[in-house]
């Protein structure tokens, strides 16, 4: 069993207690309570209806597509879907909040308790509890850099549906917290309820963290707001844990606060204390009736739930005979898994998995491209693998061909033909070439025959050099062994 990271302070070891609140933008054609579009990157205030701008007399109408996405996500989190949930108004003033309240779910969320299994590496897993999932509206965005004296408001985001997913305080270090966040991102992407792009803000995270001596009660927690990458979340948790330990060991008390993480300085700063916390005056929104979801509708989405990463990984292990590691890497992202399944069809799956992970993913990482933007598509890569399998190209040449395909396009076969990279496996042709090498290098031959076997590699090298790397190394080896024996 993996032991969570414990932190060493001046007075002993400390344990972290972490819970995450994830805000996932629901993948949806329109907003939670209006018909406006939700496309990312549209010009400011181009996706704003009268409802989103809170014009007088406007009323919200629930978007059932967003409700369906929440139901699906609830199922994927092994959670209870509530037949009745209630939308509440969360009241506060801010220029990015046109209504003066956010419509959210406070006492009765759409999804209740559930759980997920997170991967901690080396086959280790941990079950993390989910407290709830609820639907709410996003706010607009203030822009302070557009005018010398004024702040401007963009309401495109106003009213976009969000799912707030609250975990139990079940995580004990930043590795677990990171694994949980990656897992949730993978889940919402698998079921298509959120695109999971943290850099576009469609997935954001608040972390609640406290420290305690092992075995003691929970300490006072601080909430770290609006973190937009897994890496930053892990760093923020680490920084915050040490900050709290330092306070307690210095004889102080941790104050319950909302804090902001600054990734540039790698530190957290206080936004407001518990005393300064808003009184949101939640109450049921009288413009909306309680949301009733029939048992049939809940069941329908349960039946339609796609295979999730855990099941897929297990299937990849059993069906394709892949190692846990390979299956885990391939199934972390559904698009990767789908790509693999297309390429491996009727091919050697283990070989394909290995090649994709070591060469293809490495290349994508290097040029920072996502798999859907890869210049080499699944069928093109498959064609290259066929050339390896039937001996047309060697493994080494294949990498060269792949790089060419990736950078300049073209099919594997065309590149092999145009660059003369076809592997020479013809024994007679190769034997003539090898004979010539031996004839021309008698001195090396003698050294080899008198026991310097390391020189074998030198002969292979010469043969490859003479053929521009296209000689079939297996055949070359056989011929060399035969001829050098004399």
């Amino acid at each position: 069993m993996r032991e969570p990271i414990k932190l060493k302070g001046e007075t002993g070891t400390w344990e972290m207690v972490i819970g995450l609140e994830i805000h996932a933008q629901v993948k949806c054609k329109s907003k939670l309570f209006s018909g406006s579009a939700t496309d990312f990157g549209a010009s400011p205030n181009s996706q704003v209806s009268y409802v989103d701008a809170a014009m007088p007399g406007m009323l919200p109408v629930i978007n059932s597509e967003a409700v369906n996405q929440a139901i699906k996500t609830g199922h994927a989190l092994n959670a209870k879907i509530n037949n009745v949930s209630i939308f509440d108004r969360k009241n506060y003033f801010y220029p990015d909040l046109p209504q003066g309240y956010q419509i959210s779910q406070f006492k009765s969320p759409i999804v209740g308790e559930g759980w997920v299994i997170v991967d901690l590496g080396k086959g280790e897993t941990k079950k993390i509890g989910i407290e709830r999932l609820h639907l709410e509206q996003d706010a607009g965005k203030l822009m302070h850099d557009q005018h010398p004296k004024l702040s401007l408001v963009d309401l495109n985001r106003s009213g976009i549906p969000l799912m707030e997913i609250v975990s139990m305080p079940d995580m004990r270090d930043w590795e677990e917290a990171g694994a949980y966040l990656r897992k949730l991102r993978s889940i919402v992407r698998y079921i298509g309820s959120c695109d999971g792009n943290m850099d576009e803000g469609s997935l954001r995270c608040d972390a609640n963290i406290s420290v305690r001596r092992p075995g003691e009660e929970f300490g006072t927690r601080c909430e770290l707001k609006n973190i937009n990458s897994v890496k930053y979340m892990m760093k923020a948790v680490e920084y915050e844990a040490y900050r709290q330990i330092e306070i307690i060991e210095g004889g102080g008390k941790v104050l319950q606060q909302t804090r902001l993480y600054d990734p540039n300085k790698n530190e957290t700063r206080s936004m407001r204390s518990k005393e300064e916390a808003h009184d949101y005056r939640y109450f049921p929104d009288p413009d909306l009736l309680p949301l009733h979801i029939s048992a049939e509708r809940i069941e329908k989405f349960k039946q339609e739930l796609p295979e999730l990463s855990d099941q897929k990984r297990e299937r990849f292990q059993s069906e394709y005979g892949l190692s846990f590691y390979d299956a885990d890497v391939l199934t972390a992202d559904k698009k990767h898994a789908d790509f693999f399944e297309v390429v491996s069809k009727n091919r050697d799956a283990k070989f394909v998995a290995n090649w994709i992970i070591t060469n293809f993913f490495a290349m994508l990482n290097e040029v920072e491209k996502s798999i859907e933007n890869s210049p080499v598509k699944a069928d093109q890569l498959g064609e290259l693998f066929d050339l390896i399998q039937d001996g047309t190209v060697s493994g080494r040449t294949a990498k060269e061909v792949f790089e060419e395909m990736f950078t300049n396009g073209g099919s594997a076969l065309e590149i092999v033909k145009s660059k003369g990279l076809k592997q020479i496996s013809n024994t007679d042709e190769l034997e003539d070439m090898v004979k010539k090498i031996i004839d021309d290098n008698q001195e090396q031959v003698n050294k080899y025959r008198s026991g310097n076997e390391k020189l074998f590699g030198w002969f292979v090298g010469q043969a490859m050099k003479n053929t521009g790397g296209t000689a079939n190394p297996k055949v070359v080896n056989e011929i060399l062994l035969k001829l050098l024996k004399g």
Partner: protein, 484 residues
């Protein structure tokens, strides 16, 4: 000869149909009255050019034999309905120059039925008031006022009631949250109905208290109200609280006999010290219904005494959130005198809202605050449920309930606006039906000691406006109330 403006809804429609007069003529006559009014201040805004243009189009439709149910009929609109292209302010400084480019569902349905927009009537600011004294555009006078003794028209739909009673409109739209149609109708001697909550769409009506607000007509006869409600009501997908229930034939129900119907008289409405004149009108009403063959029975609504305090928690709570959008950021009034964001909010709202609106926002904010929520808002919701149950029980025994609409007739301007609780007491008979979401109509039924109108209220079962239209028609006939 009868003047065109003396005609009610049905008479006007008949005259238009028989081509006795054109819509253009009707609209011109009303516009003359509206323009020359220097006494009542019932209208705050009108657009003669637009009204006449629409009237001409209506006459054209009639000439082409394509006329619509309400074709050519002038309709006055309370300033709480968004009318596209027309100033819509809820009589508040904070929305003084706001012009929506969208049309409320209810007004849109009426225009589609051929109705002609004739102007915006005054109201208490954001519908908060019972005397129309909180309007940013000044007091409205009750046409029943005698010289030198200006009376309030009631509120919040005071401008609408005053205009209809003074024959400056055959019909005016109102909204009712705790009595805002029924009370001014009663004070001005008009008929006013608050339909069942969910019967008319709230889309495009500036919200006061969302769980209570309902639109309805104010007219000079029961049947006129039926004709208008017929064309206002119906399910609207844009309002999640509107009911997907078929709209029955209200006009037909106005001429149905009431023989054998059971009319409940709630003992809890016999307040100590209820004025004799009100008591007498109530007794007359009971007598008339008996004579028409109805059976009078006693019913009990035990939680009635909690209705007013419950209402004055629920309505302000909802209002405190509904009015948060008037913040100076997007539209409407913004204070000039601001240094920072905090200032923009506080100065804008301090200057933009009147005293009564601020009072209710403060009450609403208070009752929803942490530590007070359970004692006030939550408790009020529980009592509201009890009030609903009271009515359910009572309606197991009767078909409708008869009560006075108001505890007194119209009072003098300035008489009751010193102490808010005295003013709130005006709503004591109208608020219970609002909290229960039930339809209720006020019928002018007699006069008070000063010779001013008093109304009787009929409360019906949910989505049973038909019964109160039937009984209301009998009351109307028996009372034989004479308009000014």
């Amino acid at each position: 000869m009868t003047k065109i403006t003396d005609l009610g809804v049905i008479e006007t429609l008949e005259g238009l149909k028989s081509k006795e007069f054109s819509s253009e003529e009707v609209v011109s006559e009303y516009l003359k009255l509206i323009q020359s009014d220097s006494k009542l201040n019932a209208y705050i805004h009108f657009n003669g050019e637009k009204s006449l243009l629409e009237a001409k189009k209506s006459d054209q439709r009639r000439a082409n034999n394509n006329s619509l149910p309400l074709d050519g009929l002038p309709i006055a609109v309370k300033d709480i309905f968004c009318v596209a292209g027309e100033k819509t302010s809820a009589c508040s400084k904070i929305l003084e120059n706001f012009i929506p480019d969208y049309e409320s569902t209810v007004t849109s349905k009426l225009w589609q039925a051929g109705g002609i927009y004739i102007g915006k009537t005054s109201m208490d600011e954001f519908a908060m008031g019972s005397s129309n004294e909180t309007s940013y555009f000044g007091e409205v006078i009750n046409p029943w006022s005698s010289d030198g003794d200006a009376l309030v028209p009631g509120g919040s739909s005071g401008g609408s009631a005053s205009a209809v009673a003074a024959k400056m409109a055959p019909i005016a739209l109102g909204t009712d949250t705790g009595g805002s149609i029924r009370q001014p109708a009663s004070f001005c001697g008009a008929v006013g109905i608050k339909p069942t909550y969910g019967r008319c769409s709230r889309w495009g009506i500036i919200a006061f208290a969302s769980s209570l607000d309902q639109a309805g007509p104010i007219t000079r006869s029961v049947k006129d109200s039926a004709v208008i409600l017929q064309n206002m009501a119906g399910f609207d997908t844009m309002d999640s609280t509107s009911a997907d229930i078929k709209v029955p034939d209200f006009i037909n129900s106005c001429s149905k006999p009431i023989k054998g119907m059971k009319i409940g008289i709630p003992e809890e409405y016999r307040l100590d010290g209820l004025a004799n004149d009100v008591q007498n009108v109530w007794e007359s009403g009971i007598k008339w219904l008996k004579e028409a063959g109805a059976e009078i029975i006693d019913v009990t609504l035990p939680h009635t005494k909690y209705a007013l305090p419950t209402y004055y928690i629920v309505a302000p709570a909802e209002a405190s959130a509904n009015l948060a959008r008037y913040d100076g950021v997007k539209y409407g009034y913004r204070s000039e005198n601001i240094k920072d964001l905090e200032d923009m909010y506080s100065q804008t709202r301090a200057e933009g809202f009147g005293a009564e609106v601020k009072r209710r926002i403060l009450i609403g904010t208070y009752v929803l605050s942490a530590g007070y929520y359970d004692a006030y808002y939550l408790r009020a919701q529980k009592v509201r449920t009890k009030i609903v149950e009271d009515f359910t029980m009572a309606f197991n025994k009767c078909d409708a309930i008869l009560t006075p609409t108001t505890p007194t007739g119209a009072f003098k301007i300035g008489e009751k606006n010193i102490d808010p609780v005295t003013m709130y007491m005006n709503d004591v008979f109208t608020v219970p039906a609002s909290l229960a979401g039930l339809p209720a109509i006020s019928i002018p039924s007699g006069l008070d000691a000063k010779g001013c109108p008093l109304g009787l209220q009929l409360i019906g079962k949910g989505f049973d406006e038909e019964t109160i239209f039937s009984i209301g028609s009998i009351l109307e006939e028996s009372a034989n109330f004479k308009n000014i």
